[in-house]
Symmetry: C2
Subunit: 490 residues, 2 copies
């Protein structure tokens, strides 16, 4: 059957064939409906997919992927679309496979502490499904009430509690995936000890380039007996940074340890008026401790001591849920609050060795001054995962480009001090041009071996992770792979 | 240069060329000296390598691997040779690359809690190097005073304390590897958050088939404030198993939780006479708790309660190092003690979901009876990692074959109840024939994609992990790969 060449496929016929797989309501092709799918949480770059298909089962995903393989069509998988690195950014003439309807919790096995879900299940639903029995799912991206587990797997998402409990990869026991040739493969399983190559670990964080997960087996943890939050405020960022180092050096691993700087504190107080974040503090530290009641009580005393030794002006603690939520409220609202401060903001995601915190924050402030933008800092201090928020106005011509350049300078700084260009948001389309900052050509080639093994035609999520010779500014817009697959007439 | 075809290479000339790389003392070629290298800890299968080469640096490894690549020579990497699945078993006409001289601790970074080592460094040396400063390296295979980190990485080794702290892969931050084409590649790094595919996780546990690690960055942990060991004895295995489930269900994660059955208890008391393992108990449980003193004290009370509720006849606890060592002494001597009970023993390594313990132990006893062999059980009860020890006499013709068949039946049983054919010893040459019990053909093909990407000529550690069409009994002996590399005249 000759439909068209790939560069101008006959999308009407394609849509008909996909309707035969997923039904009429599973295919979106009207131009105005496709707008929603032009970008993920990285809204500055947009590409409209040719059509969107919404499967409900592994079998339907197999049919769709095999169809794309047969006809050499690019395809991109998308979860809830909350990703921040353009990992689900469509390319021209692609099929966007959206997992929103694959939203079933397939199995809850409390005895073995695991849950099997479809990829479209929302992160928070997992905890909701098991909390009554005293369990929870640990990885908690800030978007946890709207982001999906499939997207979390693709981007190996982190969150506030990943300091103690690890990121998504530490909580995925097994996966059923559909590889780009349409095969169904089971990776991992229901126990931790699976022999052979660790393909589960390889797949988590592969950003949709190795296939699409259709069933995910997650570990769940017992809800801790006791939780306590401490809020400490400091006159300098250096003091707050020293307190962070002191807590870790004392052998305490808090469930979460977050820092906010003065600009963030004031933005938050303007909007949500927590009343407990002192506006004149240069930095606040939020430390959450969990475990046995006796353990939490002991560590609470130690953490308070360490904060005081490092210059904390005041310390507030909260044990009950309501007060804890009050202390967290400002941190949780921080990104949204920036939206009130500035027409637009750009969130960067980089990592530095924790010990380099104070120096790096100063250098980020210097860079902001040089470029003429305010940079607010709200971040996972315990593991050195920075989230500088650059405030700007996208209606000013050239502003975005400048902000991106500044963001890039911040990443280079992270790498220079021994850190990383991404902590938890992934590389996606946005950061692939920075990969050579962290990896040699040989390192990147070795990663490409994996891509070529799973995705030999390059049809699955093209233009992600790997740099192309193009310059950084263009990278997210021009995201076709270097090795364009052979055009097949079908 | 024409030396010979691969099937009868001119080893004298090859040895001369390798001497040029590593010096005269770095090449072993005398027949009597090569005997040592015929097998690893799985002594029942032996193949003499053509020669042994002992590099000291990454650069020397690169030269050796490139030499093998150029001349299509099989090569096998070997650490301390303590592996139990024949992962370092040579093949005919191979170069055995032994890392024994790569035994330097290259960097100790206490501030960032990490240590960089060469692969020949002995597991226990890492803890020795940092214990003075209050740190330790968590993975602790029973062979930890003689096994090497390189081998631990290859086999993703576990140990008693892996219940709480995870296996080797959870403690490796970064690797410098030499791939089978002789490239040097850096995987991971000095921080946890590294973007791109998780090649560090892929390499750990790849059993020498993807390359050879020449530098390994390990996480170290703070020594816990307090440690306590409880020894509980039971009238039935079922009761001990129920206590294990009860402890985990209560949300307690012991550092280690080990079980021994009556046969093991008595073998141990015969040899080391601990005096604290009651000979009439059907099972004993050793539970190690660690953490803050208050936490350990609280959990100790809870664990003792749970053991009593499940029928424990007596409970002994130990807080100080000396008494703790006394309680552990029998468990640590268990394998050696079997050597006094029986001329030979065969250690199996399988995993079952923890909840299936009592039933599976009964079925193992039944299988032992059917085959006419005693099977002792000493194992990591907390994570369901069984180590049945089959007692036999290798001088009786056919005994080994029967014992292997019995071992195979035990593995099939593990898979049947949702477990795994290996918990921590790896697949190596020994268990590859059981891989189809756990994985479909498609699953195994997907793993092979990785092997072909890294090891396209099949020269690195042939005949490991992947099954061949041959029957199980032959698998460890006949271990050339299915796809024999092209013979090159050199």
């Amino acid at each position: 059957m000759i439909l068209a060449t790939q560069n101008s496929p006959d999308w009407k016929t394609i849509a008909q064939q996909l309707v035969a797989v997923v039904g009429k309501n599973g295919v979106v092709q009207r131009r105005e409906e496709l707008i929603t799918y032009e970008c993920d949480g990285l809204t500055s770059y947009r590409t409209r997919p040719a059509l969107v298909v919404l499967p409900r089962t592994t079998e339907e995903v197999v049919e769709i992927v095999k169809f794309c393989d047969r006809h050499s069509l690019f395809w991109v998988a998308r979860g809830a679309g909350t990703g921040l690195s353009g990992g689900a950014l469509p390319v021209e003439n692609c099929v966007l496979i959206v997992t929103a309807l694959m939203n079933k919790i397939l199995k809850v096995d409390l005895e073995n502490q695991q849950v099997v879900v479809q990829p479209g299940v929302i992160n928070n639903w997992v905890t909701q499904a098991v909390s009554g029995a005293g369990f929870y799912y640990a990885p908690d991206p800030s978007s946890q009430i709207i982001c999906s587990i499939g997207g979390n797997v693709a981007e190996n998402s982190g969150g506030v509690h990943c300091l103690k409990y690890g990121v998504t990869t530490n909580h995925v026991l097994g996966l059923k995936i559909v590889t780009p040739d349409g095969s169904t493969v089971d990776l991992g399983g229901e126990i931790s000890e699976i022999p052979g190559y660790d393909l589960t670990g390889l797949f988590v964080g592969s950003e949709g380039t190795l296939g699409i997960a259709t069933e995910i087996t997650l570990k769940i943890l017992k809800t801790p007996e006791s939780i306590c939050v401490l809020l400490a405020d400091f006159n300098t960022v250096e003091e707050a940074g020293a307190a962070v180092s002191g807590i870790i050096s004392a052998g305490i691993i808090p469930a979460g340890m977050e820092m906010m700087d003065k600009l963030s504190i004031n933005a938050v107080e303007d909007v949500v008026a927590t009343g407990c974040y002192p506006r004149d503090a240069e930095a606040i530290l939020l430390v959450e401790l969990d475990g046995l009641a006796v353990e939490v009580a002991t560590n609470k005393t130690k953490v308070a001591e360490i904060c005081r030794e490092n210059g904390a002006r005041s310390i507030t603690t909260a044990n009950d849920l309501e007060t804890r939520m009050k202390l967290w409220k400002g941190r949780k609202a921080a990104f949204a609050a920036m939206g009130k401060r500035s027409p637009d903001y750009y969130v960067q995601d980089g990592v530095i060795p924790r010990t380099k915190l104070p120096g790096v924050l100063q250098e980020i402030a210097n860079l902001g001054e040089k470029y003429g933008y305010f940079v607010a800092n709200v971040f996972h201090a315990g593991d050195g995962n920075l989230h500088p928020l650059i405030l700007y106005d996208n209606s000013i011509p050239g502003a975005l480009e400048q902000v991106e350049e500044l963001g890039g300078e911040i990443l280079k700084l992270c790498v220079k001090v021994g850190g990383s260009i991404s902590g938890e948001h992934g590389i996606g389309a946005d950061k692939r041009c920075y990969m050579p900052q962290m990896f040699t050509e040989t390192d990147l080639e070795t990663m490409q071996w994996i891509n070529e093994a799973f995705n030999p035609k390059g049809l699955a999520n093209p233009g992600k992770i790997f740099p192309s010779p193009r310059t950084c500014g263009e990278s997210a817009k021009v995201n076709l792979p270097e090795k364009f697959p052979d055009v097949e007439v079908f």
